[in-house]
Assembly symmetry: C2
Homo-oligomer: 337 residues x 2
């Protein structure tokens, strides 16, 4: 009998919940534990917490990370925070438990420039314990970086790389609509940006990954966050936005070499977005572009990319990996017996 | 001083020529030998044979493969034939010389279904000699297979995969325009298909790679080749096609499971093609598609993919590899000193 992959879910927010539901569909995976500190979730059945139709699953959510990690899973699916410094102890605990880690922590996706010491520490710990970890998701981790790097395979010379992602947040979860400031006045929006609570995290990581992968000698990465101001009223399931209010974020990150732009990444994520799409444009020899009409759906795609990374991280050499290194693809469910 | 990658070019047709010209641009590569049996090339300087502006390069084309391979290159760029049985001895000789191989032999791109014994033989030999080989290019190797598999990363479930590649052969090299039957009568075209001289090789290999990578349990692969008939006169640099004559090929390959289609690949390669583009469509959860407007240019892209595969094949575990396994990307030129 083939041994199943034993998985632990660490963090059961919206992304964690959609990951465990997808894990549950893979016949080759057994969910052996779940960690969350939310008192509303602790002690309850994981299937019930995530609203699965086949609950209960017989796996209880626990706040005792050490105890759950002690089950020594093959892989921990980690979805607790965008901030690498905040999750360092969690990640190190996973590695010490000799489990591989797939994390959606955006800052882990390509941490070398912003956090060289933390990167080295994670790489060393992973190698010491003989396991591998990766930070991934749809963005960062796929659409603005991995896909651009993959498209680079048909290029003989690359002078400039551009990624444009336009996301219609209308049908996304409430926390996301709030996170992007939908419904705020422009002043409130700017205040929230200043205090750090409105931001899509990960553009500089994508710029750095693309720079290093396409040989673009970027020495400076800049980032701006502006409100995308609504020009007409937008009503979603959760909230409504008046003309003149912020409908979401408009972020631009640039990779510069001696002040010259080599990489341009633009993210528009707002409710009521027209023509959502993901577009990569490489200028060089030849010029080439690629479009995903409609764009890749953020929540579905992040869970997909994370779960689809399991086979590759399990077969990867020990250490800190990035989606740049991994032959990312689809993790087919094994046929039901 | 960093050691350069020592490369040998095996086969100096149009693709081989464009590969060596690209190799020449990479500061980290040193071309140490070149093999071809064409008397018009043997004994001449490689740079002159390929029409390089900086010729001579000081590397002579030789017909003595054993002698050149004896130089023990790090990698051999192999571009002699589409047929795996025809190139087996060449590939085995490269492996025995302890060189990694990047080959544009289409049937090597995913040889497991058509040639299981030859695949096993190559894998065993590569492991015995501690080197790796891969068959790759733009198609097969990238646009209809690797790109589809990569896009699969954002999918939670995949029910059907489709790849459509429309290539305008008008500006391609003469051998290609002839190979696709441009300018033949429909009868001549069909006769050439029957004798096996008109065919783009590689669709079944792409279907098999996609099937195995996306978990689509294909048990039968079919392929048809029809002429794309010109509806108006088309004049290229090399030839002209009258209405009613063949303008090129229209090939369709299908992957079936119990008679049901799970994979559909369509290649239209003809002179005067309207709206050339590469399009991948995955049906499942979610439905997602991707388009490269204009399509990836066959000759430029095949040389790119082959040369860009050098760093990954050199760092790959020994054995027979495919573009499915490799994190394909761009091979940046090192800065000029």
């Amino acid at each position: 009998m083939k041994k199943k992959i034993r998985a632990i879910q660490y963090g059961i927010g919206p992304i964690g919940a959609s990951i465990v539901k997808l894990l549950r569909e893979k016949q080759s995976i057994e969910i052996i534990g779940a960690i969350d500190t939310d008192p509303a979730k602790v002690g309850r059945d994981l299937g019930e917490v995530v609203g699965a139709s086949d609950a209960p699953w017989g796996v209880k959510v626990s706040a005792d990370a050490a105890e759950v990690l002690g089950l020594a899973a093959d892989v921990v699916m980690h979805t607790t925070s965008s901030s690498l410094p905040k999750v360092m102890d969690q990640l190190l605990a996973c590695l010490e438990a000799e489990s591989c880690v797939v994390s959606t922590c955006e800052e882990l996706s390509y941490p070398y420039r912003t956090y060289p010491e933390l990167s080295a520490k994670l790489d060393t710990a992973a190698k010491e314990w003989g396991v591998a970890l990766v930070g991934t998701g749809v963005n960062p981790g796929f659409v603005m970086d991995k896909l651009a790097i993959t498209l680079g395979a048909v290029s003989q010379r690359i002078d400039h790389a551009k990624a444009l992602r336009i996301v219609d947040a209308s049908k996304r979860r409430l926390p996301l609509q709030k996170k992007i400031g939908a419904g705020l006045s422009v002043e409130e929006f700017r205040a929230r940006v200043k205090e750090g609570t409105i931001k899509h995290v990960g553009l500089p990581e994508s710029v750095a990954m693309v720079a290093d992968s396409l040989g673009l000698a970027v020495d400076e990465i800049t980032e701006t966050i502006e409100p995308k101001v609504a020009t007409e009223k937008v009503v979603t399931e959760f909230l409504s936005v008046e003309p003149g209010q912020a409908a979401g974020v408009h972020q631009i990150a640039r990779g510069l070499a001696g002040g010259k732009e080599l990489i341009y990444m633009e993210l528009q994520m707002y409710v009521g977005a027209k023509d959502p799409a993901d577009t990569i444009t490489l200028t060089g020899h030849p010029n080439i572009s690629l479009t995903i009409p409609g764009g890749s759906h953020g929540d579905i795609a992040t869970a997909s990319v994370a779960v689809n990374s399991i086979p590759v991280i399990l077969s990867s050499p020990a250490g800190l990996r990035t989606s740049r290194d991994l032959p990312i693809g689809f993790f087919a469910p094994t046929a039901k017996p």
